[in-house]
């Protein structure tokens, strides 16, 4: 077996990433400009509608919107490569600045959500597999199926209705109380959005873990491990979990966009100041520069996590490294 040169290996992956991001930015740039709508409205507000043709032309020239799209794109690309992503039409400040303000909130929500889903799914899945067919397993399965059927926005509404409006235990919106904002305050504001984010996805992964574990538990090597006197717990945790982990890790890496998409909706319902609300606004109001950066950010996260998933499954599992599919030439 020949080891690949790590520089070539990772270099190739990075080049692939760069190409993908380039194609993505091109696609988003063109689609955004194809879409009908007036970017001037988001810059000048209502004033844009009362502009004379001359004023419009001037304004478009100032924003660089008068030239053909491909020139606009090259100009944008040139600046972007130097770290200048332009200004937001709506907020009239540097795009990077706006995103930098909001990003920590989304990272906090998405990151903790991801961690909760990752660990929770493992725990719940393993618990169910351990108690296969028992009352506990059946109850968890039923509850999980029902919860996974509830759309996130409605769950948010119900939770707000119960905990914020009726019981008044938890705040209904925002990331922190205006003026205040200590760690505890942020944590309290995080509870409901986090619950919704986790509830929407947790069962999907937990159920997958459960089924994969059960599949593993029926395999021959488990029989052998048991017959050598290992305890059931050790078999489950040390053997079965170990063999499903690479698959799970890569699945979780691929699932980043889904969880990200979920936080967008949750952010909107809870008026949580994050990237989600921002990208929704920017797409609606043709805030081109903001939109581009947001798309590239989320796109790179997704592509990166896809690659990560691939690398994980190639690295962890020795079978992947050793056996390559035989090539068969066919005809007939």
């Amino acid at each position: 077996m020949r080891r690949k040169n790590p520089f070539i290996y990772y270099g190739g992956k990075l080049a692939g990433l760069a190409v993908s991001v380039f194609v993505l930015s091109l696609a988003v740039f063109y689609i955004a400009r194809l879409a009908p709508g007036d970017p001037l409205v988001s810059y000048y507000g209502d004033r844009a509608e009362k502009m004379t043709a001359e004023e419009r032309a001037q304004a478009e020239e100032r924003l660089g919107l008068d030239e053909p799209v491909h020139i606009q794109y090259t100009r944008w690309l040139g600046r972007a490569l130097q770290g200048d992503f332009g200004i937001s039409y709506k907020y009239k400040t540097d795009v990077t600045q706006i995103i930098a303000d909001r990003l920590p909130n989304t990272l906090l929500l998405g990151g903790t959500g991801f961690a909760v889903i990752f660990a929770g799914a493992l725990a719940v899945g393993a618990l169910c597999a351990w108690n296969e067919g028992n009352l506990l397993d059946r109850i968890i399965c039923k509850v999980g199926t029902v919860v996974s059927c509830i759309p996130e926005f409605w769950l948010s509404l119900v939770l707000i209705l119960v905990f914020a409006v009726q019981l008044r235990w938890l705040p209904s919106s925002g990331a922190y109380t205006l003026g205040g904002g200590g760690g505890a305050d942020r944590a309290v504001h995080l509870i409901l959005p986090l619950t919704v984010t986790a509830a929407g996805h947790l069962w999907y992964y937990a159920y997958m873990i459960r089924n994969r574990l059960l599949e593993e538990l029926r395999s021959d090597y488990v029989l052998l491990a048991k017959s050598k006197g290992l305890r059931r717990r050790d078999v489950l945790l040390r053997h079965c979990l170990r063999s499903i982990l690479p698959g799970y890790l890569s699945l979780m890496a691929i699932s980043v966009p889904h969880i990200l998409g979920g936080t967008y909706i949750v952010e909107t319902v809870f008026s949580y100041p994050g990237i989600g609300t921002l990208s929704y606004e920017s797409a609606r109001y043709q805030d081109y520069n903001l939109l581009m950066l947001l798309c590239i950010l989320s796109g790179s996260v997704v592509i990166l996590s896809n690659m990560l998933a691939q690398i994980i499954s190639e690295r962890i599992d020795p079978r992947m490294r050793g056996e390559m599919p035989a090539e068969v030439t066919e005809h007939g």
């Binding site: 077996m1 020949r2 056996e323 390559m324 090539e327 068969v328 030439t329 005809h331 007939g332």
Partner: protein, 299 residues
């Protein structure tokens, strides 16, 4: 001596494993099948016997070598295309795992008549269904199974259906790739008898691939032994079993357990170290019809 139906010459095929490793699955294999004979191809797993079968059935295009069937070089795409219908109707293949080689969603009747439907052949017994019932009876099954699906049949019955499908076209050459390996002992005997009976009745040429030497000895007229992609010995079955010449053949024969405890325990199996195996060399005829792989230096 009857005419040669299939002539395999210097057949070679490689599988690529990874970037640098290439495995020679079949390495300069040559043999001939005469019309109407049963030829056994024996070898352990990974010896390349299945690859030979697939090359003969044109499922794999060999890397080198020639296969002439009824005078047609089937490795040549042009000749293959010119004689496509002949090749596809008169050669039939039976797989090891009948569960996988029968479409689980088709009914037995449709499975058996699939080749006819493909080539738009008018069934000689009226309708396709009657044809299927007839073929099913030929392989010892009741026509009541016509509307069942493979999942509702037992392993032996499924293999019978696969045989019926292969025979429905009246083939000249039947290739069976380990057709009994996944069956029970008592069912194996039934299928072997069926093969023997059908071969006598139809007179097709039969290439039987197996790893069970006792079965091959019973069924086949001539036998070839393969090891690591090379054909190491060919001889009439009786001759091969009574007087094996290649050390690998000897080791293989001595490893088959004899179902007699006293005899069996008195025997010491011969070992054959794969490291000693010399891939180079040629098949040389030592007595009429008996060929052994010998190193060049022996010449």
């Amino acid at each position: 001596m009857s005419e040669i139906l299939l002539d395999v010459q210097e057949l070679t095929h490689c599988f690529r494993l990874g970037r640098n490793t290439v495995i020679r699955a079949v390495d300069h294999v040559s043999f001939q099948l005469r019309r109407g004979e049963i030829f056994g191809l024996v070898g352990e797993s990974g010896s390349g016997k299945s690859t030979v079968a697939r090359c003969i059935m044109s499922l794999i295009r060999p890397a080198a070598g020639k296969i002439r069937y009824l005078g047609v070089n089937i490795c040549d795409p042009g000749q293959f295309r010119a004689h496509r219908k002949l090749l596809q109707t008169s050669r039939q293949l039976i797989f090891q795992d009948s569960a996988a080689s029968l479409n689980p969603r088709m009914k037995v009747a449709d499975i058996i008549t699939e080749p006819m439907a493909i080539h738009h052949i008018r069934p000689p017994r009226g309708s396709l269904r009657q044809e299927a019932a007839f073929q099913l009876k030929c392989v010892g099954m009741d026509p009541s199974s016509l509307d069942r699906r493979p999942g509702e049949l037992s392993g032996g019955q499924r293999q019978r259906v696969a045989i019926a499908r292969a025979l429905s076209m009246g083939p000249e050459l039947l290739v069976a790739d380990e057709p009994i390996a996944s069956l029970d002992v008592s069912i194996q005997a039934q299928i072997i008898n069926l093969f023997q009976h059908l071969q006598r009745e139809h007179g097709f040429t039969f290439l039987f691939i197996a790893h069970d030497l006792a079965v091959v000895r019973h069924l086949c007229d001539r036998t070839g032994v393969m090891f690591q992609g090379r054909l190491v010995e060919i001889a009439p079955s009786k001759e091969l079993f009574d007087n094996p010449l290649h050390p690998y053949t000897r080791a293989l024969l001595s490893a088959i357990p004899i179902p007699d405890p006293r005899l069996e325990r008195a025997r010491v199996p011969q070992r054959f170290d794969p490291a000693q195996f010399c891939r180079e060399g040629l098949l040389r005829e030592v007595s009429p019809g008996h060929m052994v792989l010998r190193e060049e230096a022996d010449r």
